[in-house]
Subunit: 218 residues, 3 copies
Amino acid sequence: MTPDLITVLFGDPFAVMNTIGLIAFALVGSTKAIREEFDLFGITVVGLAMAFVGGVTRDLLVTRVPLALQSPIEIGLGLLGVAFAIGLRVVLASPDTHPITVVSDAVGLGAFATTGAIVATGAGVSAFGVVAVATINAVGGGAFADILLDRSPFILFDDFYASCAVLGGGAYWLASVAGFPGSTAAAVCAAVTVGTRLAAVAYGWELPTIQALGLAGR
Amino acid sequence: MTPDLITVLFGDPFAVMNTIGLIAFALVGSTKAIREEFDLFGITVVGLAMAFVGGVTRDLLVTRVPLALQSPIEIGLGLLGVAFAIGLRVVLASPDTHPITVVSDAVGLGAFATTGAIVATGAGVSAFGVVAVATINAVGGGAFADILLDRSPFILFDDFYASCAVLGGGAYWLASVAGFPGSTAAAVCAAVTVGTRLAAVAYGWELPTIQALGLAGR
Amino acid sequence: MTPDLITVLFGDPFAVMNTIGLIAFALVGSTKAIREEFDLFGITVVGLAMAFVGGVTRDLLVTRVPLALQSPIEIGLGLLGVAFAIGLRVVLASPDTHPITVVSDAVGLGAFATTGAIVATGAGVSAFGVVAVATINAVGGGAFADILLDRSPFILFDDFYASCAVLGGGAYWLASVAGFPGSTAAAVCAAVTVGTRLAAVAYGWELPTIQALGLAGR
């Protein structure tokens, strides 16, 4: 079997997306911890938690030993993201609201929605299972980081965050069912997730409440 | 092997209890989110989380891929409960304190204590394991929903909530050890859990603190 | 193969450390719940959660059914720790700040870092995996107990708590790689974790923040 063009140009989709996601989410998690004035150990813990919790949960859901515990290079990628966050704070006063961090967060979301969809599809779960694992892989780390930062995981609800991963996971499943190769499905999933997330941030998208829809009983 | 009377009348105990539990807990979770004025996405997330987290945790504890990721109909049952919650809010001003919601919560607790006891018994764990898995299956969803709603999972402590599932799980184990068929044990578990829960709500049962017992050192 | 001196004197390292950890952490968890004036059910829940959550998470990470659900004696050890906590409150006004509780916490941390390192090494994970599983086994119960007590799991960050388990897990891995038998590695892990934890409490060790280091941009 000859690899398709996307794989030739960019490499194995899982490896590429996993590498991008680990660095991006470790950077975002550590940046949040720096803003809260956590010490160096706390910055490392929150960064690594944001990078690894989603993927570990994904692996547990398909009952395999988490990749993070088996691969010696995963931890290095996470620590690289932590170091980037510290470097960013050295040169910027408020890195947590800087475009670098906002884009890293969207890119990590898209990368991990894609790794989740790839692993779930490989495990042979249902269509809902693919979307659910993609979403949990994408948002699990950020939600856990929020809990560590003593905040409710509102990341799950705000600004089309988790819903972007839902759309990306659904796009992956549709592309797979339509017969496209895995690398194309991966590219579509990442593009849909990152695109909808950045659009939601740029335009402040919100879904209505029952009360706002005027449907609520009195 | 001929099925016993309960199975003939009501069907496979796991399937029946799982269906009841998913709809009831999705309704309760979504109702909580509606009260907090979450948007439609948040209402769906909290409802599905309350419906699925207990069963997913149960499946992980016996190391199998969660049923929710494999069965295509489970998600439909959860969404049905979410739709019921929205319908309830259209006709009622405060559905979260309405008897429909209070009874749904007790019924979901009993249904999931039963599915937990069935799966744990099938996995061959210890007596404590049966009670523990029944309790985690029953209360996991509600506790997780509370965390999503930015509340401590006090559901674990208040008003004989988790303890009703402990009693139900214990009743299932006793009935199994006494030689009753699984369907009878399931009926006993559900009845004990729902009965003690509704009685606790009706009569405001509470356990004492060490301080109240007058035992505390000074 | 003849057992080495440590095993002859103290028995199987996993069994010894597991027994010590379960009793010590159940005592500490229940003591925290007593201080918050939880009722008897809540005291039992928090004590057992602190004793069991770390080990259950460890077992899930290496994809085996949790030992706590299989062994009939584990729950008895946990309940023994709960009973000790109640007894301590009968004779002491503030057991949560008493040296017995502080030392029990350090001993439980060291015991569970060791059981985590043993199980992870047996599962053949990477060096980072050994340290990660040792740390999660050691701090998982306390962090979960904090969430149940409606507190952020600051236990993860304060006073060289989790970092002591990181050092202990690293020491276990180094001792294993250096060719020492498992019982020696276990003794080294427990000694490093308990020693650094007690020293950190005694001397109030803290790591600096980025801001305190004077590195932060403006």
